[in-house]
Subunit: 312 residues, 2 copies
DNA sequence: GGACGCTTGTCAAGGGTCTGTTCAAAAGCT
DNA sequence: AGCTTTTGAACAGACCCTTGACAAGCGTCC
């Protein structure tokens, strides 16, 4: 009966009773960790809100998990921030078709993939790779196809089955082109997509082109926590880290981690999500052109004498 | 989602309790091998992240596998392949030379993958595939490794980077083995995982084994809506549809769709999620053994299918 | 075979840190 | 009045730090 739900504000005794933490401790947590932010009554009494109460409960949870008081408080406070950022990201979508002979092949590939015809698609790719360089096929067929697939997907004119089938098949072909890309003597690049990003085919293309340019590639692929990426970059003493995403939102909220990463190893952002309008750590490079071109234009692997061995 | 892994930092006592390693040893591992990279509190206490915790678990795994502490730490750290430039066989391939058993090769593969050593892993796989049949390698090396990886993942003793790296590399190898699996004259099987299921490597193994047994494989892969699967099965006049999932929950709630599917085309459920305790449409087949064995035991590709209704 | 050295888990001493708790005096609330 | 609250200071004990050393196990070298 002694409750005062008027404003939902509690004095320290009541809060103490509710959460089972002595008033002394509550004051200590406030003083030492800033866990609680009570307003004061006219006479100076602390008045706690429901937010304070739940903050205490979170603190208790963390303590139960074994965290120290300081860490538990930090964690309990950290859960308070809520972040939301959403921006519509329209961007250029101009399908370019250069080599004329390539256009028909590209059409044939798209058709075979749409029809879930694996043998036909493989055959088209085989012929492409025997008639053109890997770079050309990747830049002028595979990448345009991937982009077109993405657009068709966005407007619902492709089925899940078609998308899955095409992705799986292309992934397989790319994987075979990627064979041994960690081998060699060139500088090391570590490639990944940020958390939430599931499309890594373009990144694979980039890795293949990089490798054919003399780099060693370490590939972590889609949906990789930055913490992991940082560790891997350090452990493998990477000379470059490339993060790719299809939309700028994937990079949002990572500013701090990106800065940390960029301070450790040269960093480049790629993919349609790499735009100039975002806050970038100094020294970060934006790769906005197609993956093959960007890979060719990266600072050449000037390392020692025996690297000039670009594989054919 | 808690974006920061550094949210719950542990002091040494709690970490020691969690992983079952004395605080003395933890400090020794840090001092001697740099295994741990704790930040420090204002007063100088070590504060460990979850990454540190899982690094310790990896260390324990490697110790259990018989590595010395120094090597286990090196492996747990993700390898640095310092002298790899000249000595083509890094530490990963050392263990292979002596006894040529499958078990040793499997261990070497696991080690190479743990160390993110792509060339070493590819080399181990190359030798395996030249010394044994595809079926043997898949059944006795790849599948056990995938299972072990899953278990280690569940208990946090493998990093995201390691999991991604291993998955990507194995997916690439499997894709090359899958080349042309849609080609031929055998009966057609359509393979997919239900919505939400992202692990499709085992299903790829199954597809490869099926194909080598005379089947044509249409592959839709992970996270496929049943509606799409049904359409595809009809469009390609499939003789069999295989749905694979790692947990029974993935099949839950699909009962109606599964019945519809089973009434159209012979249906089989596979993976660790295919258990007898669930409600099954009549005629549905459960594939509970390993993928290779199940593929070999499927009714042979006698094109005159529709009479031999598979029974349990 | 024995001296030597390396690796690795343990331990101890001396001292600092963290955190719940207590004390005391002054003041608010009903 | 009688209860609660506030502030500042001070503790005690658990917890942790660094340095240094030690011993068992194992391989190497003479």
């Amino acid at each position: 009966m002694g409750t005062e739900p008027g404003d939902g504000l509690l004095r320290i005794g009541e809060l103490s009773r509710r959460v089972g933490v002595s008033d002394h401790v509550l004051r200590a947590w406030e003083r030492r960790y800033g866990l609680l932010k009570p307003v004061r009554s006219a006479g100076g009494f602390r008045l706690y809100s429901e937010a304070d109460e739940s903050r205490v409960r979170r603190m208790q949870d963390h303590l139960a998990r074994g965290l120290s008081a300081a860490e538990a408080a930090r964690a309990a406070l950290g859960a308070d921030r809520a972040g939301a950022a959403s921006t519509a990201g329209g961007s250029a979508s101009v399908a370019v078709e250069r080599h004329e002979g390539l256009a028909d092949r590209a059409g044939a590939l798209a058709l075979a993939l749409d029809e879930l015809d694996e043998p036909a698609a493989q055959a088209v790719l085989d012929r492409l790779l025997s008639d053109f360089t890997v770079e050309t096929v990747l830049r002028d067929v595979v990448m345009p196809y991937l982009q077109e697939l993405g657009e068709r997907w966005a407007r619902g004119s492709v089925t899940v089955a078609q998308e899955h089938f095409a992705s799986n098949l292309l992934r397989g072909r790319l994987a075979s082109l990627a064979r041994g890309w960690g081998h060699g003597h060139g500088p090391r690049a570590v490639l990944a997509c940020p958390p939430g990003e599931r499309h890594d085919l373009g990144l694979m293309v980039f890795g293949i082109a990089l490798n054919r340019n003399g780099w060693r590639v370490g590939y972590l692929g889609a949906d990789t926590p930055l913490e992991e990426l940082i560790n891997t970059a350090v452990d493998t003493s990477a000379d470059l880290v490339v993060l790719a995403a299809t939309t700028p939102e994937r990079f949002a909220g990572l500013t701090e981690d990106l800065s940390r990463l960029a301070s450790i190893v040269p960093l480049a952002l790629a993919g349609a999500g790499a735009v100039h309008t975002m806050a970038l750590p100094v020294g970060t490079r934006l790769l906005t052109a197609d993956p093959v071109t960007e890979a060719e234009q990266l600072p050449p692997p000037t390392r020692s004498s025996h690297d000039a061995r670009a594989r054919q």
